[in-house]
């Protein structure tokens, strides 16, 4: 349950950054393991790639692209927050990170259909 003192945009930006980071940390080893088949067992890689034809997998890929994008842009906001002169529009920047990520992942999803 999200407790009342956490109900503000920058806390949500924090939790989205954390969850996307953990999800990517879990996904990336699997991703590289599958990619390694390209070198060692190309026929098995082709077998895995057929999975991407399933609609459910396309939706999952959309989710992955969104997580990657939101982690990148949210991370850029945090790096700017800590390294560049302070800018007061942090909530707008966090919302922009989510918006751009939805645009990128949505475009990816529409092209995958």
């Amino acid at each position: 349950m999200i407790r009342p003192h956490r109900t503000h945009p920058l806390w949500f930006a924090f939790i989205v950054h954390r969850i996307s980071g953990i999800a990517l940390a879990l996904f990336l080893p699997l991703h590289f393991w599958i990619l390694s088949y390209a070198l060692n067992a190309p026929e098995r890689l082709d077998g895995f790639l057929h999975w991407t034809d399933y609609p459910l997998v396309k939706v999952a890929e959309f989710g992955l692209v969104f997580l990657l994008a939101v982690h990148v842009f949210g991370g850029l906001r945090l790096m700017a927050l800590e390294w560049l002169p302070w800018s007061a529009n942090q909530k707008t920047l966090a919302a922009a990170a989510v918006g751009v990520s939805l645009l990128i992942s949505g475009t990816f999803f529409l092209r995958a259909l």
Partner: protein, 251 residues
Amino acid sequence: MTNDLTESVAEQSDPLEVSVWRSAGDGGAFQAFKVPAQDSQTVLDVVAWIQQNEDPTLSYRFACRVGMCGSCAMMVNGQPRWTCRTHVRKVLDGNRIEIAPLRNLPVIKDLATDMDPFFDKWVAAEGVFHPSKSRDDAIEQINPASAPRARADAGIECINCSICYAACDSVASDPEYLGPAALNRAWTLFNDAKDDGAGVILDAVSAKGGCHACHSMGSCTHACPNELNPMASIAGLKREIAKSFFKRGKA
């Protein structure tokens, strides 16, 4: 006359259903009270009414009642707030209101928390004045328009209420973390031309539990009743530590 007026207003609406945290030491539980609703009623008024009319053993802390002393902060419906400046009608959940002691601090009794850890961390963050001159020296001339003074001015209206400290999840997960108020104080002193402790401040706030334990959740800035921005102060400290690193420790 005033009492007659107050009572007439109170009779017009249902009494407030108030849950107040009661404890003496470990453990505790919420106790329900019915409190007459009044116009322009603050949460502190509600607590005072309970103590004066229902249970004189209820312990809480307050002093100025006008938002200057920082004594009366409590958790109100799960949010840390200054109760003397919080109108009941703005925080009511239906007709209910839940009042608890500040989060992240040990409870002495009922709504009174032990503020020692909070103030100990101000000292640990070097949030104390480091004089640079003796009484024989001329007084430092401060240009109020200078950038460092503007940065210091942005943070000096802190009333030490500990609301940011109670709102912070980093404090909750890391007992060593100095917290937003102490780091904000360190930042104002770092930018104060009269303070000679820039080096010791950066050493203190870059140690374990210092500003790098902040995850920039912004709950401190969101909750601050004086609309200060401890998150910006902490980001400023992080930048100055990075600069100091590249300048080989010179503040």
